[in-house]
Assembly symmetry: C2
Homo-oligomer: 240 residues x 2
């Protein structure tokens, strides 16, 4: 486990689940993971006790693992219990959603029942814009809005599929089916890095045996056992 | 004006704005244009007096004109006042939306104010599925659903842009700005034909001088003067 001693500066940005702080080093920021939870574009708000700690630990573990597989990530180090030290990125203004199995907005969009496996892994782009409800974009919308270049689109698709190969296999070893998840990317010194987090906030993870949901859908759908689900994912990842 | 004498057989299909009838000739169907109007996926229902006649005449005129520009259409002949004789097609299960200026669902999606010109003409694909609300699709969704082939996607994009070149110029000569419109295509004997209709039901058309809306948005938005708008579009097209 890589730790870095660095001083937390002013808060640069507060999001729904994290606060980003400046540090002594202009190339680094600290991401503080919060317990607060939101869903449905912040229409539903709550607290999941211990989520910040679990998600920081889960993200750290997954980012370190992805680095060993050749995926450049923004992860630099860990300040227990809830803070990650990360490379400061210029975030790209799209969310990349990778899907292996139909659920959530894809089920609504194309009429697939939740749980139907997709013929092949789907990579979708969404506009990062809460006011607009993070809408789905086609490549032509991305061009019209001049959000990212065509070559960045291709690079993100390729990275999404590479990351998926690694995560699918890893989560399966943890007894978890990786249904879908959201990725965010950013640029530093001309290179694209995986940023943000990978956690039960941003993934759908179902128990391989029982199909039980072990992710934020427990909060979205009022299924109970939310804290336990996050702890269970962390436990499985750490013992793998 | 091409007319064809042919007998109307049984109703094969009744849609929101048209009824399709069989004919003596198995390769031909009759499309009867109705006065009934729906909007917002049939949540709003009404009647626009004279719409059937206006839209049949407008579609006939536009399809004949597109044929002279090399666009294959299903149009065969006209039976006044409300019926078009058309080639029977296997309709492709997507709607093709061509946009020159932001309006409607695109404005909502990407946050452009209504009336903002697009950098370049946008061609979008939507699933023809009322139950799902005709959702936007990416190329990857089209592949997942196996709706049409990649080469059909490319052919429809190309046809959409070719049709747009013709229609933009033609409507401008009629003093109308072609904001956006929906196209449907079908296949007969292995060839793709433009089908369905092109009318103020399926286009947004704004007066070049005043910006006045002369299309179904008058019905959607309760702007009044709905019948007059359809008649005005027909008058301008016929006198052009």
């Amino acid at each position: 486990m890589k730790k870095v001693d660095i001083n937390k500066g002013e808060a640069l940005y507060e999001g729904k689940a994290k606060i980003v702080y400046a540090t002594d080093d202009p190339s680094l920021v600290i991401q503080h993971f919060k317990d607060s939870a939101t869903a449905f574009n912040a229409e539903k708000v709550g607290t999941i006790s211990g989520k910040g700690e679990a998600n920081a630990m889960i993200s750290r573990h997954l980012f370190e693992m992805l680095e060993t597989k050749g995926i450049p990530t923004q992860y630099v180090g860990f300040q227990p219990p809830t803070d990650l030290i990360t490379r400061k990125l210029d975030m790209l203004p799209v969310e990349v959603v990778v899907r292996n199995v139909a659920a959530g907005s894809l089920s609504k969009r194309i009429g697939y029942p939740e749980g139907k496996p997709l013929k092949s892994t789907l990579v979708e782009f969404y506009l990062k814009d809460d006011d607009l409800g993070d809408p789905l974009l086609t490549i032509d919308h991305i061009r019209e809005l001049d959000l990212i270049t065509d070559s960045q689109v291709e690079a993100l698709k390729k990275l999404g599929l590479q990351i998926n190969d690694v995560l699918l296999k890893f989560f399966l070893e943890c007894g978890l089916r990786l249904i879908d998840y959201k990725l965010e990317f950013g640029v530093a010194d001309g290179q694209i890095y995986l940023g943000d987090e990978i956690s039960p906030d941003t993934c759908r993870l179902w128990d391989v045996g029982t199909g039980e949901k072990l992710d934020k859908d427990r909060f979205r759908q009022d299924l109970g056992g939310v804290e336990e689900a996050y702890r269970e994912v962390l436990k499985r990842i750490e013992s793998n």
